[in-house]
């Protein structure tokens, strides 16, 4: 049956280009070669479709697969990996123990980076010096994790990008942006040389390059919308 103009595409993503969580979903879909439509939300005004699709949290990203909504970026990435399991590459590693290690670090990354970035951006109050130290420590630990997991190869996932690459890599845009905004060094080649090299490779990867813009674009976004949410400063993302 051919698709008509009235039929919605099978795979749609509700998102905002500047959200690292949305970026994760787009990378995963591109990695798997899945055709999809992106519906860009308007900053500050949630669409009816979003409110209907994620009534509990009303946040992006939401993946709509044949109309069925899935939310939470890391959950969506795993869903994509499981549904399109016959499309290479595998996003999660095959070994249960290595999967557990990657999931551990992905959780750690989301515990540290989103809040830290918001504080350094200035949209949420916090002690910037303390945050820089926390994020530097986190990056140090991730540098060590990279050495163990990559086993001399290019990515956390080995020869190709995988779950943990996507989890951390999606934050690189904002990390580099807040380095400029706050005048700090996070991805410091002297302290975390392997991660710096990895970040460059990740950003240049074909599945990433068109959905992870340069740091300057994130800085522009921050300037444009920084004062947009006086009482609810965070992005309308998870």
């Amino acid at each position: 049956m051919s698709s008509t103009k009235e039929e919605a595409p099978a795979v749609r993503v509700l998102g905002l280009w500047a959200s690292p969580f949305v970026i994760r979903v787009l990378i995963a879909l591109r990695l798997k070669g899945v055709e999809h439509e992106v519906l860009e939300e308007v900053v500050g005004k949630k669409s009816e479709l979003l409110l209907r699709s994620n009534p509990v949290h009303k946040k992006i990203p939401v993946l709509l697969h044949h109309g069925k909504p899935i939310s939470e970026s890391l959950i969506i990435v795993q869903y994509i990996d499981e549904v399109w399991s016959s499309n290479a590459p595998a996003i999660l590693p095959a070994d249960p123990y290595v999967r557990a290690v990657e999931r551990f670090w992905a959780q750690y990354i989301d515990d540290k980076f989103p809040r830290g970035i918001r504080i350094l951006k200035g949209t949420v109050d916090g002690n910037k010096d303390e945050i820089v130290e926390q994020l530097s420590t986190a990056l140090q630990l991730l540098e060590e994790a990279f050495l163990k997991l990559s086993n001399g190869k290019h990515y956390f996932g080995g020869d190709n990008i995988g779950y943990l690459d996507i989890a951390l890599g999606s934050h690189v845009g904002w990390v580099r942006a807040v380095e400029k905004i706050a005048g700090v060094q996070l991805l410091d080649a002297a302290k975390v040389p392997h991660l710096v090299a990895w970040a460059d490779r990740f950003c240049a990867h074909p599945a990433v390059v068109d959905v992870l813009p340069s740091a300057d674009r994130f800085v522009e976004y921050s300037v444009k919308y920084g004062s947009f949410f006086p009482t609810r400063p965070s992005l309308p993302t998870e």
Binding site: V56, H57, H65, K68, I70, S71, E72, I75, I76, Q78, Y79, E82, V83, P96, Y97, R99, A100, V101, R103, F104, Q107, Y108, L141
Partner: protein, 246 residues
């Protein structure tokens, strides 16, 4: 019936090398008697029929082993599999389901969409439901009232999701049940201590029934924390919080 072995070796007739190999293959769990996260892991191991050695930690004087196995968070539970550590209860639960895929019941469903939903509700429990419940238990006055209202709002969402099912996973318990399970005994304790009912039959009948189903299931009823001791501990925690804010 699963037993926790508080000693690590039981056979004196094995050679030293055999004992070492056997020891490395033993699944170990570092835990603490009152930690709900530890219980989730223990119930999961029981669902799969996995024998394990349990090591009780003194959280005020953590062992070198724990600090070595979980240097990032220094917390329990930590599962040791073939000498390698796994931390964070949600991560451990998924690992248990995958490492022992063909043992016992599945903890996560097969269908990718159902798996995504299960993971969604686990996160909901952790990020959205737990904070107001904790706040309700550790505050008083207006702050407590606001937290109570927020907790009830989230519980109503959960009630809708449960919708009269025996367990969140259906006829048998699954990931979401294990993850939310400790609430089935913690909330009644909190209610007793605060003198306020959080889960009322008129408003949350499915959840009330689920709590009963969970506590009475064969896996759970044979392994629960000592309730009197736990109640005293919770009481002390509430008092400490109230003292700090005065």
């Amino acid at each position: 019936m699963m037993k926790r072995n508080l000693t690590t070796h039981h056979s004196a007739t094995l050679s030293a090398m055999e004992r070492q190999e056997e020891d490395e293959d033993r699944v170990k769990l570092f835990g603490f008697w009152s930690s709900p996260y530890v219980y989730k892991v223990e119930w999961a191991l029981r669902i799969k029929g996995i024998q394990y050695d349990y090591i009780e930690e003194n959280l005020e004087n953590k062992s070198d082993q724990l600090l070595e196995y979980n240097p990032v968070h220094k917390k329990v539970p930590v599962l040791i599999y073939q000498g390698k550590p796994i931390a964070e209860s949600e991560v451990i639960l998924e690992f248990i389901d995958e490492a022992w895929k063909h043992h016992g019941d599945r903890i996560l469903p097969e269908d990718p969409y159902d798996r995504a939903m299960a993971r969604f509700w686990v996160r909901f429990g952790k990020d959205t439901l737990s904070p107001p419940i904790w706040k309700w238990f550790t505050t008083q006055g207006q702050e407590q009232e606001a937290a109570y209202a927020a907790a009830v709002e989230q519980l109503q969402i959960l009630e809708k999701e449960l919708d009269g099912k025996r367990f969140f996973a259906g006829e048998k318990m699954g990931l979401v049940d294990l993850s939310l399970g400790p609430f089935s005994y913690i909330i009644p304790i909190y209610e007793e201590i605060t003198g306020v009912k959080l889960i009322k039959e008129e408003k949350l009948p499915s959840l009330l029934a689920w709590m009963d189903n969970f506590l009475n299931s064969s896996i759970v009823r044979e392994h629960l924390p000592p309730m009197d001791k736990l109640k005293l501990r919770c009481q002390a925690i509430r008092e400490a919080f109230l003292k700090n804010t005065n």
